[in-house]
Every structure is written in structure tokens, then in C-alpha cells.
Symmetry: D2
Subunit: 279 residues, 4 copies
């Protein structure tokens, strides 16, 4: 039996669950798992239904759902196929390394189509796994020109998500606007909104915090202000300087990104204003 | 607008979500929140639906749901009223103390109707909060006679749950059978199934573990083998002897019990064989 | 055998551990436990030595240590007696309640000498435990006058620490300066430095964070900027509004404060610039 | 300035800290960091001192320390050089993959000298990182013969530690006895002592636990009973079957092993009877 995931995002209204699940029944789809949320803040309704059945008439099914839900809805029926991702990096290996290893071991629900770096440092590592690495230096060219070259390479492929895996460049509004909201995902090396911007571990050391963290979020024009998908922290103490914090932080960075990605790749994340709904 | 919670527990079948949510719509109940789970292991279906609306015809609604679900189902429509609980204790104050304080502060969705102790140690503490304390000593009488006296006191009140808050006596099958499964809840001072039985902290120390824990579970005839509701752990190290572990463990014991209770008191816990479904 | 704790805080220098431990040997004190830290940032040395022996000549011992360490050192030999604390509160019961309960159960290494509230709400709870409650309203008087009255009451007793247990007033520099740094301890209901100031849970909700936290810190003139003693977080999600976050946050607030206090009351915390050393 | 670590393990006695730190002073070694523990259970004393200075006369220094401590002591002065390790594997890639990646990124204080597998599955992955992989099948030969061949390969190199990274074979007492206690380190995929032996995730599922874990321990003859170095857990729930638990458990397995290794590789772990002291 095949599985598809029905994703519903619309203005909240009475009876939505009943109407949609009814329709699933009419098409003989079994609901394996379902989660829903109505946001009182935005008055939006979100539902993720894992359906099992024969999807020969999936277009008709989707059409019938669209007739049920309010106007301006976003309804999709997606397969469980692996998503296609690109990874942007600078010099640090740990997040990319984790993605490569999980992809190699078959435990990441995505295929890494390419890696793009503004330094060549991670070329060797990437190519060990037979994945193309594009080295696009930012030196000697404008920020706009640099991003243009990156986008040109990225846009040669059909990508579901672009992951900034410790890509130590701040994207311009032009590049952010080049992709739909939700396509660019960043891992930030602090427990946002603490220590926004540069050198968060130095900031954390200077403040004398007892926990450091990481935040995976969708990228928007506001630096480090995009909708948060996942966060976690680890304990530090008086024996940690900024360097030791950075080293300790690597494990939480890669774990948080992978956890966020697992949710995103399984279509469990909706964007709700500047927040996320994570089923 | 009033809220009620519809609890459905039945053999799994196709279309249950649609049929039940449809019926909610026919009675103009808005589904504020819903969670469901179909167990492939027991072939049982569990659903918890928080409904909002006018419940004048709630009996007719419940009757209509019962016509929809398979035979031998367990369907209930419960209010959000505070549950009525009794607490069984021995000498340790921390779990009872936490329940009393949370109840006093209004952050426990239950009313503590009485406390029963086989020692008088916690009488003073209980009565500070104007709650009746029944001291029923086990000395000089048989286990059966002791339990009989306890049950007699408990049964003078209509109770939803009986909490064993570090009640250091093993219940006989007779007392366990005296109550329906799901009514007796115990906090065990170890991360079950490690260290079943007596002196778990001494066992933990002897083994040299680096984490100790606590487990809240429903009571069955098999000692420390009932369905687990909630567990948690804390770090210990080589500087902890059994006494220090016991002291450190108190915080996790009371937290785990309170978390389990919050779930149970809000009707979020179903028993599924020897396991639980916790929404 | 009696135990005392030797606390050494001085400019770092070579051979300090050897010299001090030697002196302990000359007075036949056994070192049960010792921890030390040299801060490269402030060039300060901190050591906590738990000594066992006969302390008849403790003054001579302390004098001999003072001859060894650099000038301007802070050396103390303290007993393991319970510390004397006062608690400042407003209306929320959970932190005070936890302190009262732990004190009653004998698991807090402090005696609560008094509770002072700017509202009368927690008088009943405090007096259940036979502890004096002083209601000092801030209404109709200046901030300075209010604090003056509070300090007058506090200063009638010899106190080791003053705990702000959800005392929802910002202290003036005058009151802060009235006590030595390290005597005032606050629990802040956010994971500092996120959400400094008022309504941190509302701020957290608005930002859509996935973790909320609490911070125990020494009070200084800079609002929420004093040296951090202890922090922790708990997970929240899209179903939490600010009120639900506040409710969930209570458990982490009281746990963090109690953990910080346990460290402070056992003389395990040193202040090092705007940070802490926590052994 | 060079650093060396002085490791002292001996019967407990009065004045050990003073005598040893004095000696450090006489040789003009600065004590950068020191931790010590006296076990009341075994009456053993453990100390780890990080020394900084000129180690030209290190033999004389070590000799002088040996004259100070009780007989039958174990005193070592070790460098901060990377340790040399071998990794034993079967088919699962995640633990080995993490070690390879951390070693490649320079964040593991060890050099992986070789990998030995009883299946060829991880040969390709290992060789990507230019590390020799020895495939030694267990098929068609006795357990003793298989282990003999493994030991022969291992013994061609000078190794500090041998890591069982999901090596799914139970070692015979002969192989265990072939190496000194403390050289063989295993990662067990459960929170020991829960679920000793085979298929711990299936056992965990059957019991309905709400947390699953991993344990890193030194290998002894008693299956899964060796001294525990590090443990951790993650939350699971009713939606996890044994397979999903195993998948979720992989992250905690590799994290626990790497954390244990970091401690061991930095000489922070002592064996104390069937337990460990972890500084």
C-alpha cells in the first residue's frame, strides 16, 4: 500500500477536520496518522494527514479537497520520496560531515545534490562521498556578484531545500527573495534570540552563561530572526572559554540541524507568521 | 463556550476519524484539539477530541457515537472538572509536599480529598493544608487487614485516582484487584526496568550508573511492571553514594509524578496492553 | 570529626595549592574534597577545600594561610551550619512554596528567617510553616521609601542571603548597594540574556522560541545582568501561548533557583568579575 | 610551555595532596588543573594533575612521587599526544562514521589506526578516510579462532584503546583477558542495567518505556557488566516501535561513545572496582 501526505493550510473554519477526513474516506484512503493545529493568533488551520491507499485518482481527490477548504488555501499531496537538498558551507566540517554521513548511511530522508563553499576547505570531504562540490570564492567580487554565482549553480538543479550549514556569510535581501520562504534553512550557533549576529560563543563567554545552544530556522531578511524550527542547549561552566564553548557547541549545532531537517523533510513543519508549527 | 473531552477507545477500523468528527459537526461541536493513535500491536484505536459547544444534547451525541464505533468500545465524554484524588504515603515528604503545594497554588487539576499514611509522620504537613490525614498503622495486623482498613477509608469517598506517593508497601493482588486498572498510580524511584524492587538507589550505587531516574506507572499485580506513564533521569557521578543519590533523586521523583498526573488528570493517557498511549 | 570549609580567593600565583594544602597537613586537617580554578581572564585563583579535623586552633590556621597567600586575598573558614535566609515575594507561590517545603522537609541547607511581600497574598502560605511574613505594600509611597521599609525589616536579622523569589520589583541602585555583592540572589523567568526585562514569556511567545528557561543570578545594578549562577530550559511548542509558557516555566524557575541555592548555601559559588565559578 | 598529566592512583592516606603538590612545586611545575577523589568504598585515592613546565627531569620527578605515595601505587606522567585507537565494527555505520568524521575534522584526540570488521560492509566508508580496514569473517571458524585472528591484526600495532563500535559479537573471556582492563571500550545500545544482552530496543519496546538510552563501558568478562563511563537517554513514546527506537537510539549511542572517549582520551577516567571515577 502506498502512502502520501496531505498538507492543508488555510483560514480556520468549522468542520474542517470532518470534511477533509470524510473526503479521505470517500476515496478509500486510510488515515495512518494525523495532526492538526488551529492558531488563534493568525486564525490559520494546519493539518498533516498521512494517507494510505490507491492514489490513481489523487488529482481528483486533491481537487475535491480544494473545493472544501476556504479560498486562498494551500493544499498539497506529497509523496514520501527523498527530498533534494543543496548545502552551503564555509570552512567548518562538522555539520556538513554529519549530513554526508547520515546520507551515506541512509538515515537522512534527502539526497545531497551538491555542496557549495566560499572556501575550498570542504571539497575533499564532500568528494569522498561522490557529491559535487562547487567552490565559489567571495574574494575580489561584490557580495551581489558572489550570491549571483551561487544562485546560478544552485538553480541548475531542482532543489527542495537549501541548507546553510555554518555558511558564515549574511545573505542579502536579494538572495533571500530569490527563493520562496521556507526553502532556505540556517543553523545558528546560539540559542536565539540570545547573541544574535557575529561571534555568539564569544558573546556567551563574555556574559558568563551556563548553557549554550543552537537554533535551526528558516531564513528571512531579518538577520537571525526567521521562524525557529528547533533549538537545544548544552551545559557549560567556568572552565569554558569561547574556543572551548565553540568546540562543545558543535555537537549541539549538528544535532539541532539534523532534528530540524528530519521534521522539514517529512513535511512536519508549517510556517505560521514568524513562527513554525512543528508536528 | 463550554468544553468537553470525547475519549474513544475501540478496535481499529477504517473511517473512524471521519465518522466521529462528522458526528461532532452534526452536533455543532467545534474540535479544538484532537489526537489519535492506532496501535498495530493490539489493533486498538485511541482518540482524544477536545470539543467546544453546547452540550445540552450530550447524551444523544454520546449515543450516536456508540452506534458508529465497533462493539466493545469504550467511549466517554468527560468534563474539565477537577479530578478527585487520594494520596497514600509513608514517611517521605517531598512528593506529597509537591502535590499539596501545587494543589494550594491552583496548578494541579485535582482536589486532594484525603491523605492516608501507614506512619503518622506526614499528618502535620497534610493538615496545614486543611486536608484530612488518616493514619492507618500496619503494625500488629496482617497485610490483608491493613489494606482492608485503607480501602474502607478510601471507599468513603468518590475518587478518580489513588496516588502512591512513596508509599513503601507492596500491594497485595487483592487490593490491586479492588480497583479498576488505571485508578492506582505509583511513583517508583528508579528508571524502570532497572532496579526493580527494594532499595533502588543502593542498587544504582552498587552498579555505578551515571544516571538515576524515576518512573510513574499504573499499578498492576506484577511488582513495578505496570504500564509506564512517564520517566526521567538526572546525572550522578562518582561522588554520589546511595544516600546522596536518594536525595538527588527526590526532585526527579516529584517532577515525574506531577508530569504523569498532569497527563492523566487531563485524560491524555490511555492504557494499551501493558503500555500507555500518552497524548 | 568536624568539617569546615576553607575558601580561598586571591590573585593567582605559583605554588598556591601546595602551600595551602601543606598548611592543612601541618594542622592535621584531612582534605575530604577540594576544587580549584585559576581564571586566566581575571588572573584570580579560587579554591574550596573541605577539611576534617580538630578545629581548636582554627584562628591560628586561618592566620597562617593569610600569611601564605598574596595580599588583598579573601580567605575564610566556614562551618557547615545552616545559612540564614530571607525571601522576597510578590504574588506567585511556586518558588516560595518550594523553599518552604524543602526547608520543612530538611532538604534545604538554610533556615528561612522571614518572608517579605509587597502583596499580602503569600502570608497565609508562609505562616502555615510558622515563619514570619512581613507585608510591606509599595502603594502610595515612593520606591525609595518602600525599599527603605523592606531593608529595615530585613536588617533586624542577621542574614546570609536574601532571595528574590519572583519579587516583581526592580531594585534601585540604593538598595542594591545596601548589601554586599553576592548577598542578593534573583530568579529570572527567562534564559538570560534572552528576554531581559518585563514579560519574558510574552516576549518568548512573540519570538516563537522552542525552549524557555530560567536564570538564577546575583543581583547587581544592571537589570538582569548580574553574574549567572545556574540556568536551565524546557521544551515548548506551537501549542503554548504566553500563559501556558508561564505555567510550564514555573517548574524550571523553582528548580533552577533551588539548584543555585544548594550551590551557594554550600559555599560552592565564587564571583569572578561579572561571572561565577561554581564548584 | 609544555603540559603533562600526572595520574596518581593509590591507597588513600593523609597528606597525599600536599605531598604531591609540594613535589610539583619543587620541580617548578605549575598545576594548571587538578581533581582528586578518595573512595570510601575501596579506600583508594585518585588524582589527575595537569602540570605545566620544563619536563627535562620528568623521570626524577616521577621517581620522587613514587617515593611519596603508598606501595602498590599506580603513578604515571602522560603527554597530551593523541592516543592510538582501533575500532571493531559489524555492519552499522553511525558510530564508526562519527569517529571517522571527528578524527578527520581534528576534533577527536585520537588517531584511528585501523578498523576491523566481521562483515565487509564498512570497508568502503573506512577507506574513504585512508584508514586500513581488515575484514575478518567469523563464518566457518570457531569463536576462538575468529578472535585469535582479530587479536593478531590488532597486535601488529601499538594501541592505547580498542573501541567496540557496535561490534555485535560477545567477546570470550580469553579475548577479554588478552588485554588489560581499561583497554577495551564498548558502546551498549541500552541504558544499562536495563535490557542487558540481545535486542535491547525490542526489549524496550516490549516493556513500553518512555526513555531509551546508551551506555559506554569498559569491557569485562561479565556481559554488559563492566565499569560504566557514560550514559544518556532520549525520549520515546507510543508511536515508536522497536525499529524506530533503534533509529532514534543511534544519535544517543554515538554521542555517548564520543563523550566517553573524550574523557578516556584525556586521561580523565579511572577504574575503581566495578565503577569509574570520571573527572
Amino acid at each position: 500500500m502506498e502512502q502520501r501526505i496531505l498538507l492543508t493550510e488555510c483560514d480556520d473554519a468549522n468542520g474542517l477536520i470532518a470534511k477533509i477526513t470524510n473526503q479521505c474516506g470517500l476515496f478509500s484512503y486510510n488515515i495512518v496518522h494525523q495532526d492538526q493545529f488551529a492558531s488563534t493568533e493568525t486564525n490559520k488551520f494546519f493539518m498533516r494527514s498521512v494517507l494510505e491507499g490507491d492514489f490513481t485518482y489523487q488529482n481528483e481527490f486533491l481537487q475535491s479537497i480544494k473545493c472544501i477548504v476556504p479560498e486562498n488555501s494551500n493544499v498539497k499531496l506529497v509523496s514520501r520520496d527523498k527530498k533534494r537538498i543543496a548545502v552551503l558551507v564555509t570552512k567548518e566540517a562538522h555539520v556538513l560531515g554529519d549530513l554526508l554521513m547520515k546520507s551515506f548511511a541512509g538515515s537522512l530522508d534527502a539526497e545531497i545534490i551538491m555542496v557549495v563553499g566560499n572556501y575550498p576547505d570542504l571539497k575533499e570531504l564532500t568528494e569522498k562521498f561522490n557529491i559535487p562540490f562547487h567552490y565559489i570564492s567571495h574574494e575580489g567580487i561584490s557580495r551581489e556578484e558572489h550570491e549571483k554565482r551561487i544562485c546560478e549553480v544552485l538553480d541548475t538543479e531542482d532543489l527542495d531545500y537549501i541548507i546553510l550549514a555554518k555558511f558564515m556569510r549574511i545573505l542579502t535581501p536579494t538572495m533571500v527573495a530569490h527563493y520562496p520562504l521556507g526553502k532556505l534553512i540556517n543553523i545558528h550557533h546560539s540559542f536565539l534570540p540570545s547573541f544574535i549576529g557575529a561571534k555568539p560563543y564569544q558573546q556567551a563567554y563574555d556574559r558568563g552563561v551556563k548553557l549554550i545552544g543552537a537554533t535551526a530556522h528558516f531564513v528571512t531578511n531579518d538577520l537571525d530572526e526567521g521562524p525557529i524550527i528547533e533549538q537545544d542547549v548544552i551545559k557549560v561552566g567556568h572552565r569554558y572559554d569561547a574556543t572551548k564553548m565553540a568546540k562543545a557547541g558543535r555537537d549541539v549545532e549538528r544535532l539541532v540541524l539534523v532534528r530540524a531537517l528530519n521534521k522539514v523533510l517529512n513535511n512536519k513543519v508549517f510556517i505560521n507568521g514568524n513562527k513554525t508549527v512543528v508536528f
